[in-house]
């Protein structure tokens, strides 16, 4: 049984340091293709750029299970040049403009270093400093002579780091999921057909997952993703009823988000697998947000779906943080749940 060791962490590091803003996922796709080479029965890259890899089960009757992890990350796109290597840019995916100013970035496929420039404190007034600088006043500066082109993507220039039992990176959402799905392909349970989709363009509207689900047409689907933890110890439970998830409590099983009402049979199945094998898990608070499941479950005549995520703090910022133990338990829970999938899982009524 695969678990999280140095090999897996090295892969996560490589995936996190790659840049793959929605629509430009080539760098992560190449790592994925290389990592699963020789392990899947079929591998293809579809028209939109999803990697679809399948492993057939050996049991006579078995479920066809789609596992979807998005390869893309939030970031920026250069849209106009002001001269001297200074570019206007748009955000791609959900980013808070207040957090952009002053951050170093990597631009384009060559990871050209740049910075989202900020006027220094010496030259600003108290009033200016009390206001958010709007996106149209921000620029990415890579200096003259750089080889950036309009349309190039950029990401925060945050190198993957380990800090004790935690990881820090710009793209834990969703390279944690990608690295997990690679492990599941390499060590697939024999009782199901495993249909892995490393998807594109999740952050800008679940676009890759929609076509991947149409092509794979599974019996059920699990979105493999990461979700914010809003659990700073400055709050106790009474003060913070909106923590979403908490670090250290294990993988987060979804019941409802903006895009999907999880199939209750799958919620029960995953919780039961955790209970039976002593793997900790938590329920993500029902509420906003969404995953690839939102697109997948509406394909064809309906695909029962569930999302399970690794919790991490400071999602969609320059640096988020996750715990090694949560990731270990995450992989363990998914493996346990998949191993326990009997062909009649979906034959009972929904509730």
């Amino acid at each position: 049984m695969a678990t999280i060791g140095n090999t897996q962490i090295k892969l996560l590091e490589k995936l996190c340091n790659a840049c793959a803003v929605s629509g430009d996922e080539g760098e992560v796709r190449a790592i994925v293709l290389d990592s699963i080479k020789g392990h899947a029965d079929t591998v293809k890259v579809d028209t939109l750029g999803n990697v679809l890899a399948t492993r057939s089960g050996t049991a006579r009757k078995h479920l066809r299970v789609m596992l979807a992890a998005h390869m893309d990350e939030v970031g920026f796109m250069l849209v106009a040049e002001d001269g001297e290597g200074i570019y206007r840019f748009e955000t791609v995916g959900g980013l808070d403009v207040r957090q952009l100013v002053g951050k170093p970035v990597w631009v384009g496929h060559d990871h050209l270093p740049g910075v989202i420039g900020a006027r220094p404190i010496h030259l600003t007034t108290v009033e200016e400093r009390s206001k958010t600088i709007p996106l149209d006043a921000l620029r990415i500066d890579i200096g003259p002579g750089g080889k950036a082109k309009l349309g190039d993507r950029a990401t925060f220039a945050t190198k993957f780091q380990r800090s004790g039992s935690s990881f820090i990176s710009k793209a834990l959402d969703n390279r944690l999921g990608v690295a997990t799905l690679v492990e599941l392909v390499r060590d697939a349970p024999p009782n199901i057909d495993l249909l892995a989709a490393f998807t594109v363009q999740e952050e800008n509207g679940l676009r890759g997952a929609k076509v991947a689900a149409h092509a794979l047409h599974p019996d059920l689907a699990i979105a493999i993703d990461s979700t914010p933890a809003n659990d700073l110890p400055a709050w106790d439970d009474e003060d913070n009823p909106a923590y979403n998830t908490k670090l250290g409590l294990g993988p987060a099983i979804y019941i409802a988000d903006t895009g999907t009402l999880s199939d209750p049979r799958l919620v029960r199945h995953f919780a039961a697998a955790g209970d039976a094998e002593g793997i900790p898990y938590q329920f993500r608070q029902p509420g906003g947000g969404g995953t690839d499941a939102g697109a997948i479950h509406k394909e064809h005549t309906g695909i029962p779906s569930l999302s399970v995520s690794v919790p991490h703090r400071y999602s969609h910022t320059a640096a988020s943080i996750a715990r090694l133990d949560d990731w270990k338990n995450y992989l363990a829970l998914i493996q346990a749940a998949l191993r326990r999938m009997e062909p009649d899982l979906l034959e009972t009524d929904k509730v």
Binding site: D237, E238, P241, A242, Y243, I255, A256, L261, S262, P264, V267, F283, Q285, P286, G287, H297, K298, E299, H300, T301, G302, I303, P304, L346, D349, K350, V351
Partner: protein
């Protein structure tokens, strides 16, 4: 209360089945339609699909859709004293929350309270409300994060009008069941679809329409009215007949379908109203854009106080909707 129609409305509206948790309402409707339809099945998203007729040279494959789900609440946090914080499933109106009673799918009842009101002129937000199920601490609270509840309110008759918590859209389900009962024969292959997850974005209709691949689609749902004091202007009233939808926020009804519905109503002497709803949408919007596109329309039941625990319809509008729907499905659909 004597009529079987009212008994059916009472039975269906008093069941708790918020979006995604339609098991109980599905079982109740299945019970009603199993002897009336030629074939009944449930799809992967829980839609209940009842077929009547095999089709003929003059017939079409028709999809009729009424949604089974209702708006509800879902627990997000249980505090140390056993109070439950929640968020909405579907379009919850905070104004109707405080003082409301709820019942969880598990059967547990509760009441809704709110944090101290500092401004009595302002309704509390969803985040300021909580559910009290009589627990004295978090450990003995019988509700867990993710548990779902609906509004508790018994069916009520007021004059000619009928009031219930989930007229939207159990009344549409009633119209389809009664149409199935009244239908002697049909030239069509007619699918009576009781859909799931309409209130969270017409999800059940999306997948059932894909599966049925109809030539023609009609939703049956409630619509707003313009006949209460100081309400928004709208040319639909209770008691003046079912409404033929021309437009809402999610769909421009196919004009050929609108004409067919109006022609049929006039030929059979059934009162009807023309409906333009500025906000809101129905399952028809999902049917219309499935696969390569489907001519679609909607038969609406005028309803006051939609998405409150006291939704009101007029019994005559319901009976006339059954008559019109039966006439529509009995004859050829000339569009």
């Amino acid at each position: 209360m004597e009529s079987t129609l009212k008994l059916l409305i009472k039975k269906l509206t008093e069941i708790f089945s918020p979006s995604g948790y339609e098991t109980d309402i599905r079982a109740a409707i299945h019970d009603e339609v199993k002897r009336l339809a030629d074939d009944v099945r449930v799809d992967a998203l829980g839609n209940l699909i009842a077929r009547k007729g095999k089709g003929s040279a003059k017939g079409k494959r028709i999809m009729l859709a009424a949604h089974m789900d209702e708006i509800g609440l879902i627990a997000t946090h249980i505090d140390g004293n056993g109070f439950i914080r929640f968020t909405g499933i579907g379009g919850i109106r905070p104004l109707a929350l405080t003082g409301s009673r709820v019942r969880f799918v598990s059967g547990v009842p509760g009441v809704i309270g709110a944090d101290r009101i500092t401004d009595p002129g302002r309704a509390p937000t969803l985040e300021q409300c909580f559910i009290d199920v009589g627990a004295s601490n978090g450990k003995d609270c019988p509700v867990k994060v993710g548990d779902v509840c609906g509004f508790e309110r018994p069916f009520l008759e007021v004059g000619q009008r009928l009031v219930a918590k989930s007229m939207d859209d159990r009344i549409g389900c009633v119209v389809l069941i009664e149409t199935l009962r009244a239908l002697k024969s049909t030239p069509h292959e007619a699918y009576f679809v009781f859909t799931t997850q309409e209130e969270v974005g017409v999800r059940g209709a999306t997948t059932s329409a894909f599966g049925i691949d109809p030539h023609l689609g009609l939703a049956v749902d409630v619509t707003g009215v313009g006949d209460t004091p100081k309400c928004a202007k709208m040319e639909v009233s209770l008691g003046k007949g079912p409404a033929v939808k021309i437009k809402d926020a999610g769909m421009l009804a196919d004009p050929r379908v609108v004409d067919w519905m109006i022609r049929t109503a006039e030929k059979n002497g059934i009162p009807y109203q023309r409906e333009i709803l500025e906000a809101g949408g129905t399952d028809a919007r999902a049917i219309q854009v499935t696969r390569a596109g489907v001519p679609a329309g909607c038969l609406s039941i005028p309803c006051r106080y939609v998405h409150s625990p006291s939704e009101m319809v007029d019994e005559r509008d319901v009976s006339n909707a059954v008559k019109l729907m039966t006439a529509l499905v009995s004859g050829p659909a000339e569009i």
